[in-house]
Subunit: 222 residues, 2 copies
DNA sequence: AGTGGTCTGATTGTAAACAATTTAGCTGAA
DNA sequence: TTCAGCTAAATTGTTTACAATCAGACCACT
C-alpha cells in the first residue's frame, strides 16, 4: 500500500507565492501565479497561453504546464480549444455574475460560521497584515495589487475552514468574477473605501459578534 | 495565429459514454467514465487509483490518466497525496451537503430559466428517453444506473444553457453530493417515486409554466 | 481573377524513458 | 522483544521524443 507523508493536499492553493518562495510544489505554484496574473489583469483577456512559452518562462518542461493550464481551464480562467491551445477566457456575462455573487456570499458566510468560534489572535494579525498591505496599494492606486490582496483576504477566510472541498468550490466561483476585482476598483469608488471596508470586517470579527460579522462580509461582495 | 476547428470545449463532459462510443476525446471519456463509476459507487470510497493500473485498463499511457485524475481531484472526486497517488475521496460532511444543496438548486434554477423559453420538441424527447431508461432501472432496482440517469437528467438541463462555465460550477457541486445519489435511493424511498418525480418535472416543462417547473425541479433536489 | 488542393509551420496530444520520493519490510544490536 | 537504521520495491513527478491535428500560404487549374 501507499500512504504519503502528511498533507492531504488537493487544494493548498496558496495563491500568489512570488517566485522567491522556496518550492513546496512546483506545479501548484505555477497555477497560483498564472491565476493571480489573470485575475488581476496582468495577463489580458483573450491572450493565448502557449505551452512552450510558459515552459521556458518557468523553466520546466511542458507536462507541468499542461496540468496547470488544465486546472485553470476547469476553474474557468482559460478556454481550451482542442488541438489549438488555451487562451484567457472572457469574463462571465452579467447574468452569470448575478448568479455567482450570491453563491459566493453563501459560501463565505458558511466558512465564517465554521471558524468564528475558534478565531485566535494570530488569525486577526494575519488579516491585519493583509490590511496594511492593502492600505499601501490603495494609497498608491496600485489596482492590480489591490485586487490581489482583496482576493487573498477572502481566500484566507476560506482556507481556515476545516471543511474539505470548500476552497475548490470557492475558487471555481471567484475565478469567474474577475471583472469585480478590476472594474470594481478602478471606476467609481475611492479605493480607500475598499480598505476601510475590510478594516471594518476585521474589527467586527474581533468583536466576536457573528451575525454582524457575516453582514459586514457579505456587504463587501456586492 | 491558431484557431481551432469548431468547438469551444473545456466542458463538454458527456458524462458516461460507454466504451462502445467511438472516440471524440480520449481523455474526457476517461474522466467521465471514472467519475460515473465513483458517483454510482462502483468504485468504493477510499479505494486507491493507480496510474499504471488505469493506464492498462484504458489501454493508454500514463499521461492522459494523470490529467484525468487531476481533473477529478479538482472536482473533489479523488484526493491526492503528494508523491503517493490518488484515492477516492470520502463523501462530504453533512454540513457541507447542507451548504451545497441550496447552491445546486440555485444553479439549476438559473439554468432552467435561461433555456425555458427556447425548449423544443427534441429537448423533451431527449428527457423522455432518459425517463424511459430510468423506469427500467427503477423496476429492476438497479440503483447504480438510477443514480447515473438521475445525474444525466439534471446535467442535460445544465448543458442546454448557453452560459459558459455553468457546467463546470455544477459538476464541482454535484461531485460532492455522492451520498445523495446512493443512500438517497437505496434506503427509504420506493425507487419508483424517483421515476415519477422526474416524469412530473418533464411534464411541467411541457406545460410551459416556468415557476411551477422550477418548483418541481428544486423539490427533486432535497 | 477566382477556386480548389496541397504543402508547410506551429501547436497540442500521446507515449516511453528517466529521476525523485516514499513506504514497507528486513536486519541487527541493545 | 523492541526499536533504529538500511535496503529495495513501488509509485509518482519530470523530461524528452514522437505522432496527430489544424491554420494559413502557396500554387496549379479553370
Amino acid at each position: 500500500m501507499c500512504s504519503p507523508h502528511q498533507k492531504t493536499t488537493t487544494e493548498k492553493s496558496e495563491l500568489f507565492m512570488s517566485q522567491t518562495e522556496f518550492a513546496p510544489d512546483q506545479r501548484q505554484q505555477i497555477v497560483d501565479q498564472l491565476r493571480m496574473e489573470i485575475i488581476t489583469g496582468r495577463i489580458a483577456e483573450g491572450m493565448p497561453l502557449r505551452e512552450v512559452s510558459l515552459a521556458e518562462r518557468f523553466q520546466v518542461s511542458r507536462a507541468p504546464i499542461r496540468e496547470a493550464l488544465k486546472q485553470l481551464a476547469h476553474e474557468g480562467m482559460v478556454e481550451s480549444k482542442p488541438n489549438c491551445g488555451m487562451r484567457v477566457a472572457p469574463s462571465s456575462s452579467d447574468s452569470m455574475q448575478e448568479l455567482i455573487i450570491p453563491l459566493r456570499q453563501t459560501v463565505e458566510s458558511f466558512a465564517l460560521k465554521s471558524i468564528f468560534a475558534d478565531l485566535s489572535e494570530s488569525d486577526f494579525e494575519e488579516w491585519e497584515f493583509i490590511l496594511s498591505e492593502m492600505k499601501i496599494a490603495c494609497e498608491t492606486k496600485d489596482y492590480a495589487s489591490l485586487a490581489e490582496l482583496d482576493i487573498k483576504f477572502h481566500q484566507s477566510i476560506i482556507s481556515k475552514s476545516p471543511e474539505q472541498g470548500l476552497m475548490s468550490i470557492w475558487i471555481t466561483l471567484v475565478s469567474r468574477l474577475r471583472r469585480h476585482f478590476l472594474e470594481g476598483f478602478q471606476k467609481p469608488r475611492d479605493p480607500m473605501k475598499v480598505y476601510y471596508e475590510h478594516v471594518a470586517i476585521v474589527a467586527m470579527f474581533r468583536s466576536g459578534k457573528l451575525e454582524p460579522s457575516i453582514q459586514a462580509l457579505v456587504s463587501n461582495m456586492d
